[in-house]
Amino acid sequence: MSLTETTRTTETRPPRRRFRIRKDKVLAVALISPSIIALLIFVYGFIAWSGRVSVSAWKGLLPDYTWVGLDNYKNLFVDPRFHIDIRNTVMFTVVFVLGCLIIGLALAILLDQGLKGEAFFRSLFLFPMAISFIVTGVVWRWLMNPATGDRTSGLNLIFQSLGLDSLVSSWQATPYWGMAFIAIPAIWQMSGYTMALYLAGLRSISEELKEAARVDGATELQIYRRVMLPQLRPVTLTALIILGHISLKVFDLIIAVAGKQYALDVPAIYMWQTTFDGYFFGRGAAIGILLLLSVGVLVVPYLWYTQRQERGT
């Protein structure tokens, strides 16, 4: 009797455990499904919906899903405003990304020398990250005030009083090059972050590697050029992706520095204005989708690459 009972319990126990594990699997899926469903709707569902609007004739307050094919896209490619937008985005991206990388790397190398007060400088260079682009923009709008004569103010005033008249600039109001100046506050905000990325990268290079190079008679400069910089390539790639996608999306900073000006327009502002001020929903959606594609070209290969790398290790 007792023997059969034991066999029965040993027989029934494994199924119960398996049931437990299966129940937990169901629970695991149930726990994350609200988030996943929300993201499926808010990210992928909305992208599909935008895509549908971008091939519609929707103009005006009421939705109109009449199919117009790629007309909205074709119109954008011959739209002079969109041409300015692309030129501006390219100019902003080049100045902003290069500025952040160069300043960030230089500051990281300086801070890597084990100087006194390193923590202080590090915090100081990073704090702009905590501030919104709107605050940054409003302040820099006064620092980069192009007014002349009695209304001269901001940095121009300092340059004048220091006798550096050649540095006095019309900033973002400079014809053609205005967009390059808009990158200055953006560099102010993001170069500290780039510094942090590089500094973390420099610190993760093993001391033995540097020591080995020193033993081989390399100078400090050579160590940086030949040993450290090649090791920093993945950091540069990460920084490029992050800064690049920020500059493609740049929006609030320009609004705060310059308002809605044709000369300083970018796709993100065009989309916002044409959709919510002009009710050209079809065109707005097309700009949104083009922005998504440009960011996707940058980010998707990167995500794929980092995921694969992570699984490999």
């Binding site: 899926v29 909305f46 609007v53 260079f125 501030i131 409003v138 942090a196 929006f251 949104g288």
Partner: protein, 288 residues
């Protein structure tokens, strides 16, 4: 071997042999850079503390003669309802998306199921999308559930679009904890929820601090969602500040004081919890 830095790497002080003496000239570029980063802070504070009589564009770089609060009072009168609006949606949005992110991260890191490897990058992509690509459907959707205009639609939006970064941070945090923790708890007969509540949640405080700081900062500083989803009475501080700066009536000195007020909450967080803030940022760089 590649250089993939983490916040921990950043905080380790490097051992330097004694013979390499400190080079004082290195401070010259560091001090110059410091001036560049401090100029906007200086102009906000110097202008903010001047009295109305003292304010003039010609003397904008001079230090204030005393500590007058005229400008800050005027700025506070203009912004205070919007500051409260910001707190109203930023605090709950940060807490809720952190909690959801923690659950997601736990399941993805320690309770692997089929398809987790596909789902994770799909979640991550949501972090990078330009929001212009979802703006029209978002506004239509928020309108259709009658949350347009006030702060609650904005809260929902920030919860959902906060999920990718919170999930990523928690997943990386839990992945670094030994699997044995979970296995031991399973053998003791604890289920999924028990393991989460009694084993992992108590260990998660540092990750929660990172994520909460990060979400608070991102939501507080947001402008795009706020400007399309709220109307006058729901405006958070960023939208109100931008309107203030664009108006002809409000003087530039009040704009400076207002900018400072709008930056105070995130600056306080940065000053006291900067170390965690940095960790959050590096997690955003897919390293953490």
């Amino acid at each position: 071997m590649t250089a993939t830095g983490t916040a921990a790497d950043l905080e380790t002080r490097v051992y330097r042999p004694k013979k390499r003496k400190t080079k004082l000239w290195l401070y010259v570029p560091l001090v110059m850079a410091s001036i560049f980063y401090l100029i906007p802070m200086y102009i906000m504070l110097a202008t903010g503390f001047k009295s109305f009589d003292e304010v003039s564009l010609r003397t904008m770089w001079n230090l204030p003669s005393g500590l007058s609060l005229d400008n800050f009072k005027a700025a506070w009168d203009a912004l205070s309802p919007n500051v409260w609006n910001s707190f109203k949606f930023v605090v709950p949005a940060s807490i809720i998306s952190a909690m959801l992110g923690s659950l997601n991260g736990f399941v993805l890191a320690k309770w692997k199921f089929k398809g987790a490897n596909v789902i994770f990058p799909l979640i991550l992509f949501g972090m990078f999308i330009p929001y212009q690509a979802i703006l029209i459907p978002l506004v239509e959707f928020i309108r259709s559930i009658n949350l347009f205009g006030g702060v609650w639609g904005l809260m929902l939006t920030h919860i959902v679009y906060g999920l990718p970064i919170t999930t990523l941070t928690f997943r990386n945090f839990y992945a670094a904890l030994p699997d044995d923790l979970v296995e031991a708890s399973k053998i003791d007969g604890a289920g999924l929820l028990g393991t989460y509540r009694h084993i992992l949640l108590p260990l998660s405080i540092p990750a929660f601090v990172v994520v909460l700081i990060w979400q608070f900062t991102a939501a507080w500083n947001d402008f795009l969602f706020a400007v399309v989803l709220t109307s006058n009475e729901g405006w958070p501080v960023t939208v109100a500040l931008n309107n203030l700066a664009g108006s002809q009536i409000i003087e530039w000195n009040v704009q400076m004081a207002a900018s400072f007020l709008a930056a105070v909450p995130t600056l306080i967080i940065y000053i006291f919890l900067g170390r965690y803030f940095l960790r959050g940022m590096l997690a955003g760089a897919l390293k953490g």
